[in-house]
Symmetry: C2
């Protein structure tokens, strides 16, 4: 099927697709290697085990997503005229960009699946690779919403996270009308999410 790129990259690509479709346990190495057009043993040869492969699938996208989010946050954080929408945009737009280009859209679904599964190993891994990003965003939210107590703020951030994860994992559903450009559609989606999140965060 897939016949471009190195063996490792073909495995990573096929894994992302199948993990999103059938879950980490549901996608077998035999389905995966067949889809990638490589031998069954290639996964253990190049990655060591299936669990290590799962980690690499996350790492490949998460590193880029984290860097992109932090760069966008750095541009707006700390300034006196920063708005809630600015910070939310720094969080949401990089994920939308990832969802936009090709197979990246499936990764958000993989991420949503990982959230729903309360697997401890995976949560530890996500916390180690995701935690510092969330902490920086939380600090900026706290600065912009000084009227909220800490428990209250955490509550709202948790709810916003749930809404965004849910929305971004279902991006197949939100069809773009043919008379709007790809870029305009993405901006429209971003506005939806940002305004919703801002309203949920800042209501009295």
């Amino acid at each position: 099927m897939n016949s471009s790129g190195s063996t490792k990259e073909r495995i990573l690509g096929a894994a992302e697709v199948l993990f999103a479709q059938r879950g980490f346990d549901g996608a077998s190495l035999r389905q995966l290697t067949t889809a990638a057009g490589v031998n069954l043993a290639a996964v253990n040869y190049h990655f060591g085990s299936k669990d290590k492969l799962v980690e690499q699938v996350f790492r490949r996208r998460l590193d880029a997503l984290n860097a992109s989010r932090l760069t966008a946050l750095a541009k707006v954080a700390g300034a006196p005229d920063t708005t809630l929408e600015d910070v939310l945009g720094a969080y949401i737009r990089p994920a939308l960009d990832l969802s936009h280009d090709g197979s990246g859209s499936l990764f958000m679904r993989v991420l949503a699946r990982a959230f729903a599964e309360h697997d401890d190993n995976l949560r530890q891994f996500l916390s180690a690779n995701y935690g510092h990003v969330m902490r920086q965003f939380t600090a900026e939210f706290a600065r912009l919403l000084p009227q909220l107590s800490k428990p209250e703020l955490y509550w709202r951030i948790d709810l916003v996270t749930g809404a965004l994860t849910h929305a971004m994992s279902g991006f197949g559903m939100i069809q773009r009308k043919s008379d709007v450009s790809e870029h305009a559609h993405r901006e429209q989606t971003a506005q939806h999410l940002i305004r919703f999140a801002a309203a949920g965060l800042s209501h009295p």
Copy 2:
């Protein structure tokens, strides 16, 4: 382990726990029947197959949840002085009550898992048993938010659903302080969710 109730009920109880913890595929019939204290073959004898068992696990809680939500909705729907908070309360409070009593809390996690898995069979089943409830609530939301276009309303309801599903699946985290009663804590949680959802639905 579990030794109360009939064999069928013991299986259903253990299944709910293990499905929430390890997912539908992750929980094996051998773990399940061992936890329930019944023989391995009892699942296929009483339910026919593992898939049928999954259906029954959903049916047992979903029927009660749906009925409770529709009853609560009927009390407020259509009236001229109904508020958005009233309708949201009719949706949220029955789920909180379910989360409150014993093993029911795990069911919301099972539900969240089913949402994240994009399995077609399960989605069809949920749509058949859940669809009419969502449709009634959507109609009432449309009545109370006439300024929103249909696509806009669906967008916001989808985001609210994501936030609530996410929140209710993680109810282990929200610890009650010892100086507030169980009932007061639940009411506090309901207020959080309702206000957040109302803000997200009705923002300009």
